[in-house]
């Protein structure tokens, strides 16, 4: 209990003193999460829409793959991405290994299936009733797309929250492709692992409290957005 008390005080001290190293780590973690989620949404939203709306051979296996991908082990992804960007690897010439770029690639691979699967499932569960309704209301294809996204917005936010959660909590891939280099690729999770390996449990715990605080703040922000957006589809009776 003493250790936790000391760690809590140290965490507060780190935050209050504006510890440069800490804020550098927090900033990189946030930047990493931002880039990852931006790219994931850019790729995952169209893919999820395509899988949710589309009716084509191979759709079910692809959806199954997306569901399987939700549980991809970060260490395995990290290993494959590291091999890809390794100096002698197929993309070695890019010199991305041990850079935030390689970390973003690994994190996108980890979060993409989450967004694709959640968006596709949200659409699939509503399309049978939503599409005829939107057609009957006289929506153009573009209007239908926009209205569908609006109707599934809570599921979208859930996907974003789940993606953020994964990026923030993930350590295996970040460590393998980022290398935990101080000031360059050190994130909150990799910093915690480092402090533990050095036996600095109080500092590791302090960092863990900061990480929890940041995660909580992001979750609260997204939940507030979710509540402000009102209710999603109400199911059987409709989507209202």
């Amino acid at each position: 209990m003493d250790l936790i008390g000391i760690a809590l005080r140290e965490a507060w001290g780190l935050v209050r003193s504006g510890d440069a190293e800490l804020w550098e780590i927090v900033a990189l973690s946030l930047r990493l999460a931002g880039w990852t989620m931006g790219l994931t949404l850019l790729l995952g939203l169209p893919a999820g829409l395509f899988l949710g709306f589309g009716r084509f051979p191979g759709r079910r296996p692809l959806l199954f793959l997306a569901h399987v991908g939700m549980g991809l082990p970060p260490t395995v992804v990290g290993l494959w991405v590291a091999l890809l960007f390794w100096r002698s690897g197929p993309l070695g010439e890019l010199r991305w290994i041990y850079t935030p770029r390689a970390m973003v690639v690994a994190e996108v691979i980890l979060t993409l299936p989450i967004v694709v699967a959640l968006v596709a499932t949200a659409i699939e569960s509503r399309r049978a009733k939503l599409l005829p309704l939107l057609l009957s209301l006289g929506a153009t294809p573009l209007q239908m797309l926009w209205l569908t996204l609006r109707e599934i917005r809570l599921s979208l936010l859930t996907a974003v929250m789940a993606g953020f959660g994964r990026v923030f909590s993930e350590v295996g891939a970040a460590m393998m492709v980022g290398g935990n280099i101080k000031g360059e690729t050190r994130t909150m999770t990799t910093a915690i692992v480092l402090e533990v390996s050095k036996g600095q449990f109080d500092r590791a715990l302090a960092l863990s409290f900061v990480l929890l605080g940041v995660s909580l703040a992001i979750t609260l922000l997204l939940t507030a957005v979710q509540r402000a957006g009102g209710g999603e589809g109400e199911g059987g009776g409709g989507m209202g």
Binding site: A128, K129, L130, P132, L133, L135, S136, L137, G138, A139, T140, Q143, L147, R150, E151, G230, G231, E232, G233, E234, G236, G237, G238, M239, G240
Partner: protein, 269 residues
Amino acid sequence: MKADSPVVVAEGVGRAVRGRSILDGIDLVVRAGERWGIVGPNGAGKTTLLHLLALLVPPTAGRLAVFGLPAGGRIPVAVRRRLSVVFQDGRLLSGSVLRNVALPLRLRGVPRREARRRAERWLEAFGLLALAGRRAGSLSGGERARLNLARALAVEPELLLLDEPFAAVDASSRKPLQTLLRSIVEREGTTLVLISHDYRDLLALTDQVLVLAGGRAVDRGPTAALWARSSRVQALFPDGFGSIAKAGGPGPATDAAAGVIDEGDEGGR
């Protein structure tokens, strides 16, 4: 649309899903301003016929034209916008009651303020103006039914397709709602196709009735006269106008015997 010009022309129309027949050999001509009722036991294909007329699903047999446009190919939005549908399950969009009525107007390019004004007028007509700001999902079954009608009518459709619009409306509100709907469709000259499990709805709102059973049209005629002469129709309502037989019913075969998929099944695909 010119009076008496055909709005719907169906010649031998059928619909099958995965090789199973839901509708077969339907002939029907609905002219502008006519008010048709469709009646039949559960699984007779009523909802599927309505979805065909709404250009939501293509026929798999026969020829169907709505507003002169053959169904089955690409349907221009402009044609879809000439008709309105009220679905059996009273589907609503998320957001407020007002949004639900204003949205189809906004989709048609009506400016926001004008759409709001028109939506409020329709909500007032259906006694929902006080609920305009409420979340649509929080409405009762009866309020939901009125909202669906208000939304369908707000775009002033030439063809109005209603699938059990009064199913959730209590007995005391049913008659005033029928009267209101009748006065609107008469005033606007709206062509109406109404499915109901209550023959009183058909008597109040329609002039012609098509009877379906086992996916086929088994009888048709003027609404009141059909009730008087058709043992099929009377058999559908053994306990009076408002209580349709739950299973079987008239016709050459029951739905189960004919291997007919319940029309609700198709909607889930």
